[in-house]
């Protein structure tokens, strides 16, 4: 780093090995024992602090509850504690020697679907909770569907409250079979079933002695060991240009001509010397150098934030894309997408207009077709539907004022996802996942 800095990265050890990071979302209602499960994971990994626990115990006592209500730990808003439900995503943190975990604790109620989607959008794994006594419910099917819609790469179906069904293998197996039949209609990458009791800790951190018939891992063991690094797209080079760095230092000859393209790698591996193509121009050049705050790095891949220096002076600005000449995203003005509508003030219909933000590019869009609305509980497709209202999901066709450089969401969650913004209120009114771009 520059001489003005008191810090500076040591070039020999830019990356610390060992611990990595995993984001997982939990879906389910308080009744399914979601908060108890999270409380258990935090407690057993020593991530609940004594003063937090004391506050929860005090509040539980004040309300006349005869047990320590761990849901009070995660439901952080006044309204949530008053109503006893989760309204919005809460983020929780814990670490084991192997991994740092970010839990997106998402609400289960259908009226907060948009908040669940927020939590699922960045998750590497989703834990869908089912109450062993009730088996699959409409809600668990919805959670599994939304998890798949957002392409969370790994799913765990945690069958909770096994203690209340006498730890019977038959109950667990029946739910697994039922879910597998349902899951066949979804495209789930990796699915694991784990029987647990969050209240008693069975199979949460340690393997349970109460279920000798189960020979799989505990939930925490699974979370620690599931392989997530290969979920990132390391094949298709995608570098959305986020910010052009031009120091304008007239007095410093070295900086005078500096022109760096800064951004977060969205896919593939970039190396110095690579031939790259700029979109929309189609101009090709080579990567001269890749920097991370002035220090040269040998390669860049997702999700690194780096600065690219190119061989030729090309006119590149924010919203452009850098890729490989023989592996380009579609420069699409018409896109087919699965869309979740998130506005309570308006409905989506054919001809609805809004702003679309896709990576670092913002354009306007109009709905040219609504193919069908999908019932998020039953997966039934209603092709006669003429509108989507709050929390409804449908397949649409959008026409954009300018092309975006997109990929199918199934191939890349960053270049395949976009948000919708209301032109007059500036509210975020939806999210869409590209199925086809042309």
């Amino acid at each position: 780093m520059g001489s003005a800095s008191s810090g500076g990265t040591n070039p020999q050890t830019p990356r610390t090995p060992r611990m990595d990071m995993m984001r997982f979302a939990t879906a389910g209602s308080v009744d399914d024992g979601k908060s108890t499960l999270i409380g258990r994971l935090l407690y057993d990994s020593k991530s609940i602090f004594t003063d937090q626990l004391e506050a929860v115990e005090r509040t539980s006592r004040d309300r006349g509850e005869d047990y320590t209500n761990l849901a009070l730990l995660t439901d952080g808003l006044r309204a949530e504690r008053e109503q006893g439900i989760t309204i919005d995503v809460a983020y929780r943190y814990f670490a084991t020697p192997r991994r740092k975990f970010i839990i997106a604790d998402t609400p289960g109620h259908i009226q907060y679907t948009r908040n669940m989607i927020t939590g699922a959008s960045t998750a590497d794994l989703a834990v869908v909770l089912v109450d062993a006594r009730n088996g699959l419910t409409e809600q668990s099917r919805r959670h599994a569907f939304l998890t798949t819609l957002l392409r969370v790469p790994h799913m765990v179906l945690a069958v909770n409250k096994m203690d209340l069904v006498d730890y019977k293998a038959e109950v667990f197996e029946r739910i697994c079979e039922e879910f597998s039949a349902f899951a066949a209609r979804l495209d789930i990458g990796d699915l694991t079933f784990i029987p647990i009791s969050a209240l008693h800790g069975d199979n949460v951190v340690d393997r349970s002695a109460n279920m000798p018939w189960y020979d799989g891992p505990s939930l925490l063991h699974h979370l620690e060991h599931v392989h997530i690094a290969s979920d990132r797209n390391m094949i298709d080079v995608r570098f959305p240009v986020q910010y052009v760095i031009r120091p304008h230092a007239a007095t410093d000859a070295e900086l005078h001509d500096y022109r760096g393209y800064a951004g977060q790698v969205a896919g593939g591996v970039l190396k110095p010397g690579d031939e790259v193509m700029h979109l929309p121009s189609g101009f090709t050049t080579h990567v001269r150098r890749i920097e991370s705050s002035g220090i040269e790095v040998p390669e860049a891949f997702s999700p690194m934030s780096v600065t690219l220096l190119l061989d030729d002076d090309v006119d590149i600005s924010r919203g452009d894309m850098i890729c490989r000449p023989h592996n380009r995203p579609a420069a699409a003005q018409d896109i087919e997408a699965m869309l979740c509508w998130m506005s309570s003030d308006a409905v989506l219909t054919r001809r609805s207009r809004f702003i679309v933000k896709h990576t670092s590019r913002t354009v306007k869009a109009i709905v040219t077709d609504l193919h069908y609305r999908i019932d998020v509980n039953t997966l039934h497709r209603d092709e006669a539907a003429t509108q989507l209202s709050l929390n409804e999901v449908g397949r649409v066709r959008l026409r954009l004022t300018q092309p975006i450089f997109g990929d199918p969401y199934s191939r890349n969650r960053i270049t395949g996802g976009l948000i919708l913004i209301d032109e007059s209120t500036n509210a975020t009114i939806g999210a869409a996942m590209i199925t086809e771009a042309s």
Binding site: A4, G7, M21, Y91, T122, M234, Q242, R246, G417, I421
Partner: protein, 303 residues
């Protein structure tokens, strides 16, 4: 996959924070970074330096100065700002009091903590800031655990926790109407331990009071408060010398010290990793008001 495609949690957190800062640099007209000289804002400033390197950080920093700060921290603040050649805006709570915008609290528990909100919102209006970087982390407190990375504030500076903009992937809605602004929290996903690990890895300079030192203190409500000119002591609150460090840095009037022998970052990390009490619970008087103290202050426009 080759093993060196591995990224540590600090690499991922750093990449995320830099992306957030560049997004603000690109999409807002008048951003500012809230810099108190505390450890979180020090990390944030270091990340801003990286995000725009070799160009200068393209926004000023602002300190909401209660007038009750630790002198070591103010000295650090001024030194750091001079090193980076960036502009420092000081929004003064004392001036808000002198101008009659707020009234000084009285009594034994008088604090300027809550008054800061008015000073902050006035400064936002005066300078027409549209984005403010804050160093708050979601692991600090349960209302913060609910907050978005890009957190919308209406024209009154208020946060509406029940109506937050959905925030998907790394795509942030930055659109505003005049008079509204966004609070941006690049360290949302960092824990206290991550911050310390980053300070160690990047060899960041921090104010001396974060390390163990001998200090004249007195005990009040379970907190070890520094002997300071702003808080009159009662007769049953004798001064004594203790070896302490600060786990958080706020006002001298409400920030407690912790007993510690940690004189290096590595030693602090060992202590933080072993502690069973949260940093705010251990050191902040302002959070002890009620279960929803933070949520209530945040709704009004607090940091």
């Amino acid at each position: 996959m080759r093993p060196d495609y591995h990224l540590s949690q600090l690499d991922v957190l750093e990449a995320e924070a830099i992306h957030i800062m560049r997004e603000v640099g690109a999409e807002f007209e008048r951003p500012v970074l809230l810099f108190s000289g505390g450890k979180d804002s020090i990390v944030m400033l270091a990340l801003a330096e990286k995000a725009f390197w070799p160009a200068r950080i393209p926004f000023p920093v602002m300190h909401v100065d209660t007038g009750h700060n630790f002198p070591e921290v103010i000295e650090f603040r001024d030194r750091r700002v001079a090193e980076l050649s960036i502009r420092l805006i000081v929004a003064s709570v004392q001036e808000s009091i002198d101008a009659g915008r707020v009234a000084e609290e009285t009594g034994r528990h008088a604090s300027r903590n809550r008054l800061q909100t008015v000073t902050l919102l006035d400064a936002i209006e005066e300078h027409r800031f549209d984005a403010l970087f804050g160093g708050a982390r979601r692991d600090e407190e349960k209302a913060r655990a609910k907050e978005r990375v890009f957190s919308f504030r209406d024209e009154f500076g208020q946060w509406d926790p029940k109506n937050q903009r959905p925030e998907l992937w790394n795509v942030y809605n930055t659109r505003l109407r005049r008079g509204e602004h966004i609070r941006v929290f690049p360290l949302s996903n960092w824990t206290e331990l991550d911050v310390w690990a980053y300070i160690e890895r990047e060899k960041l300079d921090i104010p001396s009071i974060y390390y163990a030192h001998d200090r004249q203190v007195f005990e009040r409500d379970g907190l070890l408060l520094a002997d300071n000119p702003h808080v009159p002591r009662a007769e049953d609150e004798p001064l004594f010398t203790a070896t302490v460090r600060y786990r958080t840095v706020g006002d001298m009037t409400g920030t407690g010290a912790v007993s510690s022998a940690a004189r290096t970052v590595a030693e602090v990390i060992v202590e933080v990793a072993a502690t069973r009490i949260t940093e705010r619970g251990q050191t902040r008087g302002d959070d002890r008001v009620s279960e929803a103290a933070m949520e209530d202050r945040k709704r009004e426009g607090y940091f």
